[in-house]
Symmetry: C2
């Protein structure tokens, strides 16, 4: 494997960009009246996926790269933005053969094409463990991006779909179209990456409000606990004024009171969820 | 160490941004008639710095983060752009204590402040080896960014300073002011991150031209071989028409002929330099 041969196989041009892969930096020309949103997500062997997954019967390299890009796309969806381009940094251990790397890029470019995301560049290095960092840029009409700090007491709370079922899903489907449809309607939005309880807690903290939940839509085959606390759902969680019609499933209401306190059927709900640092000291 | 306590200590606002750390994505509002340039650089324990360097007498965490950010700033300098914001992803092993992480961010924010770069976000994870990925965004007047594929036969070749002396330097100084002064004058530009010979080779390949070198300015204490082939110089390498007055040290001339062939005093020069993949199979 060498860097030049990896790079030679990647697409050089894309309509979203003035200049893509191959220079010191990629060049993007902003359009009139757009804001740009930026997110980045690490995807690390042994942390975000098991080391054994690089071999059958684990996830294929295509599935891994789909997942790595989908997580960043989900953040862009939560802003109500349209993906524009990504930078993908890869640290490659010896087990990553040229064929494995090609298939990894193939899965990534497949989802990138589906979502009109250009691969604008990145960095390559060797390493002991496989690590990907996927930076994604999106665009949204000026001043319209959905934030997590703008929910108000009295707003209804919604999710874009039933929760807890990620174990039964092949791959993540970022809710890009759903996010864009919320522009001008939702008052706040976040994606559920670490679990409904903990991500709602974050939205409440940012918005300085509390939340009362009633009905939690649960994926077939999942438990209420999984719906509340499992990560990897990647549905959108959002708020809107009670009289505003928005798509989605209503799960409760934003309230005044102790900031970030959450109740379910009137009982306190702990903001437990997936935390990468929980096992650290 | 936990994510919330790390994030709580980082600056939340910066004039370059509409929204910084704390949401699903950062928000940047482009100014009229600007192009944006994007680069990202990995910085990995055991690859870009020795594992022993996380303890005395190795590099301090402040020096490590300075270096990690400076490498990306150098890419932005080579585009003639002004830094705007960065996203910093950190994968943290158990040896990275809260104090170590604080000092790492302190060094990073120090250089970020000096160069008017906002810390806009990033990702945090645990890992077996320390890994940083620094994405940097810069801005430049529309259509004016310096590229590596636009040098022309007959152009003079320059470097921004003497080469080969990185071993004697405490830290990298990205040539941001020097890069911006080249706008409208230089025909092409690249930064010397892997060595003069290999980076000039890249510029020649991209520009479909060859190069003839004569005088190579060497840092005091360095050898010609180090000036030609050592990485980590981070000076700028650029071309300009012979009658255009630009700052810097003239080292040769661009020519027609076999694309990417380089000579030094008429003798062929191999494009050897630092390559992260050279030791891979």
């Amino acid at each position: 494997v060498n860097e030049a041969s990896i790079l030679a196989k990647l697409p050089r041009k894309h309509r979203n960009l003035v200049l893509g892969i191959g220079d010191d930096a990629a060049i993007y020309r902003p359009k009139a009246n757009e804001d740009l949103v930026f997110t980045t997500d690490l995807f690390i062997e042994g942390v975000h996926f098991k080391s054994e997954w690089n071999r059958p019967p684990g996830l294929s390299p295509r599935s891994l790269s789909h997942r790595a890009l989908a997580r960043s796309l989900s953040d862009i969806a939560a802003m109500g933005a349209r993906p524009q381009f990504c930078l993908v940094s890869l640290a490659l251990p010896k087990w990553a053969t040229e064929q494995w790397i090609e298939e990894f890029y193939s899965g990534l470019l497949n989802l990138a094409d589906q979502t009109n995301t250009a691969l604008a560049g990145g960095d390559l290095s060797n390493a002991k463990y496989f690590t990907a960092d996927v930076m994604l840029a999106g665009s949204v009409a000026r001043g319209k991006a959905l934030r997590r700090d703008t929910a108000r007491a009295g707003d209804s709370i919604y999710v874009s779909g039933p929760l807890g079922g990620w174990r039964h899903r092949e791959s993540i489907t970022p809710r890009l179209a759903e996010g864009r449809k919320l522009l001008g309607k939702a008052t706040a939005c976040i994606d559920i990456s670490d679990g409904l309880a903990v991500d709602l807690h974050r939205l409440c903290l940012a918005s300085k409000a509390s939340a009362a939940l009633d009905d939690i839509p649960i994926q077939e085959g999942a438990t209420l606990k999984q719906a509340l606390h499992d990560g990897e759902d990647y549905e959108l969680l959002y708020t809107a004024p009670p009289r505003t019609r928005v798509a989605g499933l209503r799960i409760g209401v934003m309230q005044k009171g102790t900031p970030s306190a959450i109740t379910l059927h009137g009982q306190p709900l702990e903001p437990l969820g997936y935390d990468h640092f929980r096992t650290r000291t």
